[in-house]
Structures are given as structure tokens and as C-alpha cells.
Amino acid sequence: MSVTASSWHAAAQILRRDLTLAFRRPGEWLQPVAFFFIVTLLFPLALDPELSHLRRLAPAALWVAAMLSSVLAIDFLFREDGRDGTLEQFALSGQSFAWLLLAKTAAHWVLTGVPLALAAPFAAIALGAPADAIPGVLASLLLGSVSLSLIGAIGAGLTLGLRRGGALLSLLVLPLAVPTLIFGARATELSIHGESMAGPMYLLAALSVFGVTVAPLAAAAAVRISLE
């Protein structure tokens, strides 16, 4: 993957276009955030609403909800561009295909990962986390959602040729996301207890870096096959 000035230009165009499209149709990216809220807020209803109990559960609830809503959102990542021929034009643009898909994944992260991370502190407070934990919760979900989006891009590429990704997509993506869940939930837990979350955050960052190098290549290979 060779990245030149014109590839940066192309990537910026993809980001700009996807953000423009999203703002013209806000429903699509608001839905996963709403879903995230609903799932986290189901936990107190299913459990007992004692805040000290909920606090123990908060990291798990936040991260399971984040993973589910990210899988829900990822199905849209390549689907529309695949259907209307845009991905074909990406493949024929002369730019590195993996690079363009990485740009699309980045746009997707801005539209789903960032809102999710911004919503998480509210959900965390509702689950009994102290206000001091807000920066930690925000940071851990912000970083963790990067690798969730990248793993999701692989899954979205693999299921692009299918009529519906659905349950199969989650079966492919969720096992791959186990490390993200472990380190992310641990980071959130530490921040809720007011301890240093540096350790798991480094590991989350490592996962993201690894994802940036591997996921676009795998997604590009899978998408190319589905374009035939």
C-alpha cells in the first residue's frame, strides 16, 4: 500500500462525502447510538437497580452494548457503495484499494465510534459510575471503537456478497473482537475505580495499530472477490 499526496486527497474526499451523506440522512448513524443506550439501560431493569451493584457491572454492560451496536452499524459500511457501483470505481481509481477502504472505515468510525464514545459517559453515570470516571470511560471507548470498526470492516467485506449479513456477520466479528472486549472493559473498570488505566489502554492502542495494518488488506481482498 503506497500512500502519496493524491491518496491523502482521495481519502479526504471519501471522508467528506460520507460525512455529507450522513448529515443528509441522520437516522442511519443515530440508530446505533440509540440502540447502545437501550441495551445499557436494560441491565438495571433486568438486575436490581442498586447503584453499587450496577457499578460492578457497568464496564461489562457498556462494552457488550458497544460491541453489539458496532456490529449492528457495520453491516452498512460497504453495502450501499457495493450496490451502486462506487466500490467498483474505487477499485479502478488507480489508488490503493485497501487505502480507500481504510478511509471509508475511518469515516464510519467518526460516524459510529465517536458518537458511541460520547454517549458512553451518560450511560456510565446511569449505571452508577462516579463523575470522575467520565474522561476514562470516554477515552477507553474512543480507542476501543477504533479496533471494533477495523475488525468490523473485515466482517463487512466478507459478507458483502451476501444478501443479508445479519447473524453471520456477528458470528464472524465477535470472536475476533474478544481481545478488544477484554482490554476495553478492563480499562473502563479501572477508570470507574479511580485507578490508572494505562496498561489496558496501551494494549488497546496496540490492537488498533495492528488492526490498521492488517484489516484494510483483508477487507480489500474480501471486497474484491465480491465485486467479481
Partner: protein
Amino acid sequence: MLRGLSLRLAEGQALQLLWPNGAGKTSLLRAVAGLIPVEDGQLLWRGNRIEDDRAAFCADLAFLGHDLALKGDLTAAENLHFSVSLRRRLAGGEIKAALDEVGLGTRADALVRQMSAGQQRRVALARLGLWGARLWLLDEPAANLDAAGQAVVVAALARHLAAGGCALISTHQPLDLSASVNRLWRDPKEAA
């Protein structure tokens, strides 16, 4: 699946594939573009094997398939701006001029979703000129177009060929491109 094909295009030449439906016109165009792997055989562009330098070939290539790669929620001008920017930087006024050429100058700021199928195809045709590619691969370029729209295709092709480009065009309906196209290929079994 296609077998035993051989064809050659020179500068300023356009070849119209008038094969019957299901003969593999689309597959041939997609294979030339590199979207489908060629199992046996080779593709040369300017004398070099395409897989040796795909980026250079893609820079010379404009592909217009069944799917127009237009976003309904973007305007015609925004769509053009995006698809050209993937390849090169645009100068001011280029998009306006290109839309004028396909007769959509007044519709530049209309959402593509609100256009008719024929108008959408014209937007896609405007893109071809902006790319500045040498080789056009057009799959049914005149689908959904009325007589005036077909004239737009013919004029665009004529400009392209006069500038030294070449084109490979598939049409199943009797589209008269004789004003610009100089070779016809009616049956995949004939050699061309």
C-alpha cells in the same frame, strides 16, 4: 465464460460489441477492466502487461458499468466532484462545463435522487470526460436514454476519439453510433 477471444484497439478507434444478450459482453468489459480475473491469456496496454502496473492502467481507464456509482443524496455537481477527486484535483468551472456538455448545466445543484434515469445516466457520462482517460469501457451507455440523450453519447464519443482516445462499447439494443464508432463486432465467434 468467454474463450478464444483476441482484439486490438488503436488510437482513435472505437469498437462496438453488438453481441446477443448473454454472450458475455459485460464479462468481457469487466475482465478488461480487471474486475474479473482472466484465467488464461493476457491483457496489454501500451505494450505492457496490465498487471505489471495496474495504477498506470487505471489512470488511463474509464469504466461505466450497469451501476452508475452515483449517490442519490448528493447533487450532480457533488457526485462529479467526488468521483473525479479520487483521481486528480479539479480546477474551478470544470464541472459546470462538463454538465453543460451533457445538457444538464441548469441541474447541477439538483439531488441525483430527484432526477430521471436518463438524467442520471447523463451525469455519469459527464464524469467520463472529466476523468481524462484514454480508454473508455462503456457497458450499455445508452440505456434509459432518449434520442437526445443518445446524441449526447455520440457527441461525447466523437470528442473522445478525435482527441486520440479509444473505446470498447457494449450495446444490445440497436444503437446507431456510426457517426463515431468505426468498428462493429456482431458475434463473439468472429475474430476482431
